[in-house]
Symmetry: D2
Subunit: 346 residues, 4 copies
């Protein structure tokens, strides 16, 4: 039996990636693919990589709900609020890839996203969709907030050290480097090739809107409410990939082998987290196109630090792959269905 899945916002980067993954899913049939910019065109005209004659249509929540068992919302922030509400009323499931329902506190959302939240009642209903720390809640749910790209890699890299009380939870420093597809598919001079190619920059230092989500996730995963993160995002000229280097202050001496073994235990049984052996560090090319989060560790007693590096493909584990992982859990499919492919190494 196949369920019907629709994608609202199918011609943005996470929508495109959902098409790629779902088109190979044994339990899914693609229903509506919506796009405002390309409405009326066939998929193969708008997105020539995918050989489909389906017609792209404008998004209408009611029609999407009627046509589907689940609707993936790949909409700009604030646009998911009323759409999710309308679809959920019909009893259909929603997986929201925007940030609109990730934070539980309306005020925190409104502060960091500079926007009014119009569906505060739904905030509580929505389940945070990071399976490695919240699998059981996702399984029973009909409404999942899919995590942000930075939070996914950082939370997975950080929570085990905090949970194991190895480090000072109040003094976490995270430096991430992201590929450009994370910024979305938008006509902006600052996203032009010639502005980004051969360039490295930091941006939104101490002010990136993912910061409260990162802290929330590490708290969820570790049970320690005293988590405080200083988050420094950077942009580099790659399409895909987020590499996060997390610098912890050790509470007491630790060697790398011990750290690796604690992390291996924390992710025991997890299909999509690979803890690397001592001496090996992750690289984004090894997760390109796959749903893996790779984690490498280095304890340095001379500076009293534990360094954790995590790598994900921001469009897969950081967005659409994780959304499918959540769908698999919500519908009782194999968790790794359509996600077992390995990526492109070069």
């Amino acid at each position: 039996m196949k369920i019907k899945a629709s994608i609202a916002g199918a011609t943005g980067y996470s929508g495109i990636e959902l098409i790629r993954i779902l088109s190979a899913h044994p339990n899914v049939e693609l229903a509506l693919l919506t796009s405002e910019s390309y409405a009326g065109l066939t998929v193969k005209k708008a997105l020539p990589f995918f050989n489909s004659d389906k017609i792209l249509v404008p998004f209408e929540p009611g029609k999407a709900a009627a046509a589907s068992d689940v609707v993936f919302l790949c909409l700009p922030h604030t646009k998911s609020m009323s759409a999710a509400a309308k679809i959920l009323k019909t009893g259909k499931k929603v997986i929201d890839l925007s940030a609109d329902f990730r934070l539980k506190d309306k005020k925190v959302y409104e502060h960091w996203y500079s926007a009014k939240h119009t569906q505060p009642a739904l905030l509580r209903k929505c389940v945070y969709g990071l399976p490695e720390i919240n699998r059981n809640a996702i399984k029973g749910s009909s409404f999942v907030a899919n995590p942000g790209c930075y939070p996914t890699g950082i939370i997975l890299g950080a929570f085990p050290a905090v949970k194991a009380k190895l480090v000072d939870a109040s003094l976490i420093t995270v430096n991430s480097i992201s590929g450009v597809s994370g910024a979305g598919r938008k006509a902006k001079v600052e996203l032009q090739f010639s502005e980004i190619d051969e360039n490295l920059k930091a941006y939104k230092l101490a002010s990136h809107q993912h910061t409260p989500e990162i802290e929330m996730g590490i708290i969820m995963g570790s049970g320690n409410p005293g988590v405080k993160v200083s988050f420094n995002p950077h942009l580099a000229p790659v399409n895909r990939g987020i590499l996060s280097t997390i610098s912890f202050i050790l509470k007491k001496k630790l060697n790398t082998a011990e750290a690796v073994s604690i992390y291996k235990a924390a992710f025991s049984g997890e299909k999509f987290v690979r803890v690397l052996p001592e001496g090996q560090l992750p690289e984004t090319r090894y997760v390109t196109g796959s749903n893996y989060c790779d984690i490498g560790l280095k304890a340095d007693n001379s500076t009293g630090r534990l360094l954790v590096v995590s790598a994900i493909d921001n469009l897969v584990k950081g967005a659409s792959g994780q959304a499918v992982q959540n769908m698999n859990l919500m519908f009782g499919f194999e968790e790794q269905a359509a996600l077992e492919n390995i990526g492109l190494m070069a």
Copy 2:
């Protein structure tokens, strides 16, 4: 039932890509993976994208034959000759990704590759593995020479116009732009990132060793022995992809719609060739990671030219994907088995 497939040269780019494709093949079990540089290491240590504990071993033709139903040879040119001979003697099948057995004439090989051919008797036995022009011969074969990356895209783009007698076969001009993975995985200064990044160059003008294979393939596909190609290869800073622009001199006026319709007919029923509608041209990003060859056409009566552009992923349709397509034909599997995935658009 599953066959056992071994890869000789598993840690070069076409070997790595074979691992990616074969690991998802429903009818194949990976047997030996060989590597001289990484022998003794696990696959996941040498190639961390692939989560396998298999140990890489040095290549020995006899052992590979004994362990396998088919051996893929991803070896440097000249190294396949004796290896293929040894494996074929045991009755096992060989798919050779090198150039050693593509050309039928020993002298032509020796001229263009500056090397002696030690197995001339096998040249005649070996089948040229471009399914779209040679499918029946491949089906019965136990020894296939997998086409070169440039030839694949150029032959598919060129032969229908020649076959339909639209153009002067003796005055074909081909300009190709290739990604860098086509040069192989080698420690050379000229392949260093900083020598290639932000650089465009032509190379081996009128002297590229793929030239006779290109002509041979167009002759095979068209039946016209009078094919003469002037081939100009270029290198650009991308990992994957070959874009070939073929410039023909029209014998008489033609419009683009007619050209498109002739090409659509020529590839009717082909799963891996997509002839684009008038007004649309291929881009390599639409075939990245997939086995497609996309073809776009433009007739220009003001200059009397027919322009054909083809795009492939040099590591998939240009190497390992096509090798698996050949394997599927040789063993009677579905031709598109393990090759139906769509690629990464960004």
Copy 3:
């Protein structure tokens, strides 16, 4: 003594490059720098690479003329027409980097640029600014149309072979690969990093608006009115650089050494054209940041072709460097003033 130079459109890529070059010119003082998008900001705020407190102002032709001895127009096509007319009336000099005054025939312009030409009288007055074929006319002029990027490299690469009657002028095939800065600084999805990175494409086959300018220039340089060019432009993921591969059909046998010697003679005394010795082909990295046009040759008697490859930096010899070379000629400065720097090789 220093002249005053203004740049209309100083925050586009050719305007930025003019700032870079002119700021080091011994005979030039920068006067007005205009920008619509960044008007009111200091240069160092809008363009942090250049440490100047000058305020960017909106473009008004009268004010620019009043403040300057020469105005460089780096405006979108069609915007230069009336601006040039107004400035020329005041007796000040104009160097127009747009295409508006390059073609002598109003109808040809209107056909290829799909726009009405409102200053046809000025077309005749304007001098085509390719010094290597038109130096004397530039010297006496107050109004120069700076050549397009593609035409510069192609004309220099092509005219000597036509002039020396080595090749069939009516059957010239040109394949060019361009960097992305040539498309200008514009907020367009198709120019986004993730659409261009790791992608190769052909575009505007047989329909690029530079085609008539290319033919005009080869005719000017060679004296042969029978020039016909089939022009195939391509885009690759580099910021700067155009590599053009010109394929000629030889009239009679020729060897590469002879071709090199004919080209060396044709460019004897030229400071900015380097004809490479036999066996060497140009690469764009060797001209990045410099005003050089490098030319390499290969005669191939087996296919009856002469292959010429030219490389320029599209923003220097293909735009702003050449504009300064023209200014130097118009004002009687050393032709190579401010242009003697060598570029960045990596």
Copy 4:
């Protein structure tokens, strides 16, 4: 009057960059250019960007000294030791771009570079060539150790905050992202284009050999001996540029404007350090090809951090530009001679 300067190791990336800068220096004449790999070739054959017929010769310290007033050593680590000793004995000046003489303590050198130091007596004689913190010593010197690329950007970004006692000197976290030219021009698989393109990685966490030099420089600049740095280097697919994000723990509340003003005062009168106004962060593209170090600041009282970002071109301020700045100081030339050019913004 012109001095004669030789470059030992002229065909590596810092040697090539020295050629670029010195060829435009009003007080310098290039004497010997040495290269082992390209010995016997003309410069224009080996390095076609530079139009010189000079012949590259193998390096012999005695000959280089005899031909020069100053010799720049662009040699692999450990190779400078005896060469410097020999040249200095002749009374000629040496600027060493390797790490061999940067650290004052033989044991520290031997620990971090895993090599024996054969010239310990010269360690004390050699002056650390970071002009912004050591200008007076450089002025009188005949032997300068040119700083490493990472240390240059990090020391300049870090010492003012430590000197002004704003931050905890013992708990400094530095995350840097480097372009690939910093790894040198070497035939290694790991430096191949296809291994680096579209990839992000951390490397040598808590073990990079520049760590003691970074601490030494911050101590020199701040006068605070209690400096301890946790240094995390990363590699991204760009040719040039190092972006360093320094995370300090604030001793007491501070706002960004105050931090900016303290940094502006610290670099008052410096030609090559640009402290950006509040709200602006550096990007490597704004320093590409120039000798600037750009510094941006952000104080974040919610996490108690001061964040400092510095950007340099690793081949200019991080290597060859700084070497020329040192030469200018050693010979009494204008400090900014040949270094006033602005870079390429795109």
